[in-house]
């Protein structure tokens, strides 16, 4: 494993253009050794395109990219990288075991490693069944097994829980957490905010091809805010905006979320009451990743409209 702290993945100014469409627009991304990095964004945001570039499947239009200190897609880098991009793709007429055996041949990995990874993803009993007979969850697990075949330093997983039932999702998340705790570096893309919050150490948020934020998940969890339910809400919004600034006050359905030290709750309450606002609920709450995500994407939408 890389113990030096030098980023395993370093992307600066990455763009990918398909004709008139800019799929990835100036993305900067850094993945540090030993971390589980969540690459979060809605469908079509550019996550898979970025991961395909990192695995050498597609060429970038511009940008400087280093993976494990080398060029993406070079044999040296591929030998130390395991990946599952989009849905797992295997030969349908071969068994899971034969699919892994032939990948082991390509990757020049000892055959015994095939048994180890089948054990790891709990697929040993069905290993001799044809891939075409596998359920979606089993296919997904075989994809992860293939990604781990080379005992890689860096594991890149693109939406690994896609299509899984709740139990399958739980098992997959547990497996990814175990990979992270083994000291392996994991770059994981997802559009599921809760998933990223549960599994990842750090998160990068991409929207419409642009990286809009990069944070430690712990920091995000630590940020607290006040939840305010008050009538009339419009007056409450105006009063709090005047007090704390427009960026600190956000509407969510019938509540306002106010980014302010919860120690100022009494002051917030007093100002609202003095303005003739009836406060029915006021308490501190942890700011979830979901909130940040929608904040970032909706503020961008507002900026785009403006």
């Amino acid at each position: 494993m890389n113990e030096t702290g030098v980023p395993l993945v370093e992307v600066i100014g990455l763009t990918k253009r398909y004709g008139d469409t800019l799929a990835v627009d100036g993305v900067d991304l850094t993945v540090l050794p030993g971390e589980v990095y969540g690459f979060l964004g809605p469908n079509g945001a550019g996550k898979t395109t970025t991961l395909r570039i990192l695995t050498g499947l597609i060429a970038p239009t511009t940008g400087r990219i280093k993976v494990l200190g080398g060029r993406p897609g070079s044999p040296d880098v591929l030998g130390k990288t395991g990946s599952m991009i989009e849905s797992p793709a295997f030969y349908p007429y071969l068994s899971g075991l034969d699919n892994l055996r032939l990948l082991a041949e390509y990757a020049e990995v000892p055959r015994q490693r095939v048994d180890e990874v089948l054990e790891l993803v709990d697929l040993k009993e069905r290993a001799r069944d044809r891939f075409s007979a596998y359920s979606l969850g089993m296919k997904q697990r075989l994809g992860v097994a293939a990604a781990l075949l080379k005992d890689p330093e860096l594991v890149i997983l693109d939406e690994p829980t896609n299509g899984l039932d709740p139990a399958g999702m739980r098992d997959m998340r547990r497996l990814i957490r175990e990979l992270g705790s083994d000291g392996r570096t994991v770059l994981l893309s997802s559009h599921l905010l809760g998933e990223v919050q549960q599994i990842c150490d750090r998160v990068g948020i991409i929207d419409s091809g642009r990286m809009v934020a990069e944070h430690n998940v712990e920091d995000l969890r630590g940020e607290q805010e006040l939840l305010v339910r008050a009538e009339p809400q419009q007056t409450a919004h105006a009063v709090l905006t005047k007090l704390l600034g427009a960026n600190a006050v956000h509407r969510y359905d019938e509540t306002l979320r106010v980014q302010v030290d919860p120690g100022r709750a009494a002051e917030v309450n007093r100002v609202l009451v003095e303005a003739g606002v009836a406060v029915s609920e006021l308490h501190s709450t942890e700011r979830a990743l979901e909130d940040l995500f929608f904040e970032l994407t909706t503020s961008k939408e507002r900026a785009d409209v403006g």
């Binding site: 695995t55 499947l57 897609g73 991009i85 030969y91 990948l103 020049e108 293939a146």
Partner: protein
């Protein structure tokens, strides 16, 4: 590279379509090389199969001395079409199943993997040629024993030339199928276009050029089918009169050999260049 080659052999060995195509080629060779002629031989002089051909000549065509003719006689057209299908399904399947991204993210580079795929196909074509040869040889031995015919075999050099020539003909069509599959990134279109070309268009073109545009004969003589037929004609002992469809002496054997080798190189180079440069989406 050796690991990638072993992986390709595993894929080919376990794929039933590969053996179905081989079986079809084998059955065609046996039907046209032995079954129909033998039925014609045993039912006498006055039937349609042997009209104008003496019974002795029909028997001679099935004996061990003519085993190369019967092994590779169908290669320029019918077995060639099957080899094209083989190349198209093996390479095109990687696109339709999306497995290209799986194998391209293993250790070897794209060129090494494609090279291993071509080597795997070359091995499988060799298995086809040898399999058809052995079966034809067994049939010819059986017929010679049953009809008290001669058991003279072609010389070793003639056998090697015949089998190698047949292998090159099938390999050319197989690589054509592979190159088309890379170009179109699927299976169906390369098979459709390739088979229509082999079975119809090229023969039609040659006919039109010969009858209406003799000045363009140099072009029709440069086509792969014409050279495949000429190579088989050169390495077998067929007479122009009794050669199966697609086999003729359009060009001499040396030129046919060089042309087919050039086609193999071109098809492989086009596939490699495209595969290395193109995004895998």
């Amino acid at each position: 590279m050796l690991g990638s080659y072993r992986a390709e052999i595993l894929k080919l060995r376990k794929r039933s379509a590969v053996w179905v195509l081989f079986g079809a080629g084998l059955v065609l060779s046996l039907i046209f090389g032995y079954l129909l002629p033998y039925l014609g031989y045993v039912t006498g002089d006055d039937n349609q199969q042997t009209a104008g051909v003496p019974r002795d000549a029909v028997l001679a065509g099935m004996l061990p001395a003519r085993v190369i003719d019967n092994t590779i006689g169908g290669y320029p057209i019918f077995a060639g079409a099957l080899a094209l299908v083989l190349g198209a399904i093996v390479i095109g399947g990687e696109y339709s199943w999306g497995t290209l991204k799986t194998i391209f993210t293993q250790r070897p580079g794209r060129a090494a993997i494609l090279g291993a795929q071509f080597l795997g196909l070359a091995t499988m074509i060799a298995v086809w040629v040898l399999g058809i040869f052995v079966t034809c040889a067994l049939c010819s031995i059986g017929i010679a024993a049953a009809e008290d015919g001669a058991t003279n075999w072609p010389g070793a050099l003639d056998l090697v030339k015949g089998l190698a020539g047949g292998w090159l003909v099938l390999m050319t069509w197989c690589l054509a199928g592979a190159a088309l599959a890379v170009a179109f990134r699927n299976v169906a279109l390369p098979i459709g276009l390739g088979v229509v070309w082999i079975l119809g268009i090229e023969t039609l073109l040659a006919g039109v050029v010969n009858s209406l545009l003799p000045a363009l004969k140099f072009l029709s003589d440069a086509l792969p089918g014409a050279n495949a037929g000429s190579l088989v004609f050169a390495v077998s002992g067929m007479a122009a009169g009794d050669a199966p469809p697609g086999i003729r002496d359009a060009v001499d054997g040396g030129r046919a050999l060089a042309t087919l080798l050039a086609y193999c190189l071109i098809f492989a180079a086009v596939a490699a260049w495209t595969t290395r440069r193109r995004d895998v989406t």
